[in-house]
Subunit: 256 residues, 2 copies
């Protein structure tokens, strides 16, 4: 199996854009994001929540890096201040980072101002590093992300948000799921991408049995009982929209 995954070589491949996987925000500086699409991946739970809120009709999601900013901006624009620190609703906020907290009847037509431990931080790092385009991805919008990457034909960095700069498995598994779908369109010569795809292929048919082994599962389920969140975040295509970052906001992008 492995002989056919992860690495594309040959002359034809040299025409293709590159794809790299970055396992931690602390490694982002090793990759050239300037002419690349950066996919921000924070499966548990920021990028799952972003997909869910937009799918359910939110006008946009404004990712911010501090609780103070979330409160200030949401007051000014009559938005919903939301976010978490260390897995629970951040002090000073009324709404958290659960994709199930934002059904259509609550979020439609509204703006979510979201701050999270890992995902929104990585998004701002990619922005500061001059990323050409930023989109967000998680299992709920897997196919939308893959369709977009294939159509754009630009270099791609799959940016895993991790947990406080540590590697985590759920983000890597999603990177592997993307790679598995799009790899024929990219030149991939990157051990992180190979690892991500091998892990995804090994676990994809038993993902719900596998996730209880993850560090983050213990944090979310054993401490906060968020089993339904975990299921949503690891199920493909439940909220198949493409969040694109434009002028400070994540909006539903056109898949062209």
């Amino acid at each position: 199996m492995a002989a056919f995954v992860g690495v594309n070589t040959g002359n034809m491949a040299d025409q293709k854009p590159t794809l790299f996987t970055c396992f931690s925000p602390a490694l982002l500086h090793l990759y050239d994001v300037n002419d690349a699409i950066v996919v921000i991946i924070d499966v548990f739970r920021a990028t799952s929540t972003i997909a869910s809120a937009l799918q359910n009709g939110a006008k946009c999601v404004i990712p911010v890096d501090t609780v103070a900013k979330a409160v200030e901006i949401s007051k000014r624009i009559d938005g919903i201040a939301a976010g978490e620190r260390d897995g629970k609703i951040a002090e000073g906020l009324e709404h958290g980072n659960s994709p199930l907290e934002y059904p259509r009847e609550f979020v439609e037509g509204k703006t979510l101002v979201l701050t999270t431990t890992n995902g929104t931080r990585l998004l701002h790092m990619a922005l500061e590093n001059g990323a050409d385009t930023i989109i967000t991805g998680s299992f709920p919008n897997l196919d939308a992300v893959c369709r977009y990457l294939v159509k754009q034909q630009k270099n791609v960095i799959l940016g895993c948000a991790g947990w406080k700069d540590r590697f985590n498995l759920e983000d890597s598994l999603f990177a592997g799921a993307v790679i598995h779908q799009v790899k024929e369109f990219f030149r991939i010569h990157c051990d992180s991408s190979l690892t991500a795809e091998l892990l995804y292929l090994q676990q994809k048919d038993r993902l719900q049995d596998f996730v209880p082994l993850l560090t983050h599962y213990h944090r979310l389920v054993e401490r906060f009982g968020l089993i339904e969140d975990i299921r949503f975040c690891t199920t493909p295509n439940l909220a198949n929209v493409l969040p694109v970052y434009r002028n400070g906001k994540l909006i539903i992008g056109e898949e062209e």
Copy 2:
């Protein structure tokens, strides 16, 4: 399978020392090395060369961070100045970083002064961060490393040298091989360790077929023709010594 790997839980496990895997030198600061044994892992090729040289009777290996230091120290003590930059013999040095360059007839009784792109750099980082004990590991000394870790009963950081701070697969596979042997003696709650072990279990029976997919294989074999080096570096227990860092030198440690 995965239900039984990677994570130990339960009351008994709480008595055990911890084990973490660090995928890149750029992530080392996230781990507490102060009371831990740090295993420096640079499979291609520094820690394979270190095992080989010591196994073949070298008095010791002095790891240094610059070519200038390698030259200066080796002149002073009549040692062998050796090392690489970007996979080939560093300019100004006569000997490289190949484990096969140091047979007994050449290296016995001598001191190797070694500088490399990734492995010796990580060793110095672990030292500066206050690591309790530093040892080096690669497939050629797999069993010696595992026996030592099990006997010491201290916290362990498996430190992958990577390639210029990027994740690489060969170091992670070795981390997985160690974890697979020692895990019952440690409390392991770390997605990097789980990933390393899953990859190792997936590839261990086909390691020689798998390594041609690795980024570093292309660098070493396609550019420099070092296929025999690769074979040595990925074969378990060909140089089963335990290199321990003491007072600026790597010497054969007693497995006590």
